[in-house]
């Protein structure tokens, strides 16, 4: 116990640095994937057949393959196969590659949630809008989307909580996120070696973060519960 207390400041400092990277990846993914998911959903519902087929095919591929493989391919393919390392060396390139992989992957999952939400709105509302002389975009933004947002919050919350934990996958391309930081003390870092307790601490960081995200999304769900 005394040893753990002695090592604590070093471990916490290192975990904080890793956690910042995790947070950065989480927020960048959220900011990119939420709007991109809507674009993909609209693409998959498009009446222009080639576009909807292509979008559905891409969604099927992305949802049907592990995120870890997507990360490895996105990061290593340009340099390895095209002899053009677009990511550069160092942390920034690894972060950018991770962010793109996460945004694209999560956008595809979100798109299916959006699609389900949009298609759950009764067709009669659209017809009523048309009868009232509203344009299609007016109907979508003023009638459909408002109801969709309310309906998709619970499944989106689920995906967002999964995203918190999935950020750990970026470790596969050596992005130094919180698990990398925690695991380094097992192998040896800053004079601490063979210590497994930092990994339990790493789990506590995740628990606390998912707790906060759950609370925030729970509140959002309550605020959008205006039809009851």
């Amino acid at each position: 116990m005394e040893l753990i207390l002695q090592q604590m400041p070093v471990v916490i400092r290192s975990l904080n640095v890793g956690f910042l990277q995790t947070l950065r990846l989480f927020f960048v993914t959220g900011l990119g994937a939420i709007p991109l998911g809507l674009v993909i959903a609209l693409g998959s519902m498009s009446r222009f057949r080639p576009l909807s087929l292509l979008t559905r095919f891409v969604v099927w591929v992305v949802r049907g393959t592990p995120l870890m493989i997507q990360l490895l391919i996105i990061y290593y393919f340009p340099g390895r196969v095209l002899n053009n390392n677009i990511w550069g060396s160092g942390e920034a390139g690894r972060f950018l590659a991770s962010a793109i992989a996460f945004i694209f992957n999560y956008a595809c999952y979100f798109s299916e949630i959006y699609r389900g939400g949009i298609q759950s709105i009764p067709k009669g509302q659209q017809e009523a809008g048309l009868v009232l002389g509203m344009t299609r975009s007016q109907i979508f933004f003023k009638i459909t989307l408002l109801q969709v947002i309310k309906r998709i919050v619970p499944p989106m919350s689920n995906e967002i909580i999964t995203l918190v934990k999935d950020t750990a996958l970026a470790r596969i391309i050596a992005l130094q996120e919180i698990i990398w930081a925690g695991q380094s003390f097992l192998k040896g870092s800053s004079g601490i070696a063979g210590a497994i307790w930092p990994l339990f601490f790493t789990a506590v960081y995740y628990l606390a973060f998912t707790g906060v995200v759950t609370l925030v999304l729970g509140r959002l769900e309550k605020r959008l519960d205006y039809f009851r």
Binding site: R80, N85, W87, A174, L186, K187, G188, A193, G194
Partner: protein, 263 residues
């Protein structure tokens, strides 16, 4: 009486020499009692076809000629373990002007004493070595921690320019590498005060080994079968701690790591 005193002195001298009789050398509370396996070497790896390899290898030879590498080895290991042949004109012999470069070096950060994290920075023999080489060539250098078994893909994808401490087992035809800069072998180490002086003394005793070196241990199946038990550790620091605390009677480590801990 005089004869008795002389006899006693002789006896005491012999007793003092006795612990040294069965071991090669000892320092830092530990001693090497036997060699366990053949030699293995450390290399610097480069992207396939990258001219960096020629410049770094030539710079290493010039630094070896000025005894810089020797001093570096003594600083980290207490003895000269670097086996690069010195050549004061190696760079000139290349017949090309040294290009300006800024290199990213991939390192295994849990590898004491070669490369590890301390005081929020990177330390180790490899860090010093490549910093010296790049400084000598007038190059900038930055370090990035990688899993050294990914050296080939990291190099050839262009994410790093150099990978340090690639061992023979990790050598791959997918990348170029420098001449071996350090040679090491696996050795058996015990506490200086222990009464185990040879390999046979470990019969029925507990041996500590790093998980990653398990395959080295099992190269000699007969020896393993004679042991009482084997305790695994994740790193060499833990191994030496276990030996110091008496949790194990002996440990199996590379001679480079042993030299660092015994320094």
């Amino acid at each position: 009486m005089r004869r008795f005193r002389a006899g006693l002195c002789l006896l005491l001298c012999l007793a003092a020499l006795l612990p040294a009789a069965g071991c090669h050398y000892g320092a830092g509370g530990f001693r090497i009692i036997d060699e366990y396996s053949g030699e293995g070497s450390y290399y610097i790896a480069f992207r396939k076809g990258d001219k960096l390899q020629q410049f770094v290898s030539a710079a290493m030879q010039e630094l070896a000629a000025t005894n810089t590498l020797r001093s570096l080895s003594i600083k980290w290991f207490g003895e000269n373990l670097v086996n690069i042949k010195g050549d004061a004109d190696a760079l000139a012999d290349l017949g090309e002007e040294t290009p300006q470069r800024f290199v990213t070096v991939g390192i295994d950060v849990g590898n004491v004493p070669m490369s590890y994290i301390a005081n929020d920075g990177y330390l180790g023999f490899d860090i010093d070595l490549i910093t010296f080489i790049c400084g000598y060539l007038g190059w900038g250098v930055t370090f990035y921690p990688i899993d050294i078994t990914d050296a080939e893909i990291e190099l050839n994808a262009g994410n790093i320019d150099i990978a340090m401490a690639v061992s023979e087992a990790d050598l791959d035809s997918g990348f170029d590498y420098s001449p071996a800069y350090l040679t090491s072998q696996y050795v058996l180490v015990t506490r200086s005060g222990s009464n185990i002086h040879r390999r046979s003394g470990l019969k029925g005793k507990t041996l500590g080994v790093v998980v990653a070196d398990e395959d080295v241990l099992y190269q000699n199946r007969g020896f393993v079968d004679d042991l009482g038990s084997v305790i695994y550790q994740t790193n060499t620091d833990g191994l030496f701690n276990a030996l110091m605390l008496g949790d194990v009677d002996g440990i199996l480590v590379s001679s480079v790591v042993a030299a660092y801990h015994m320094k």
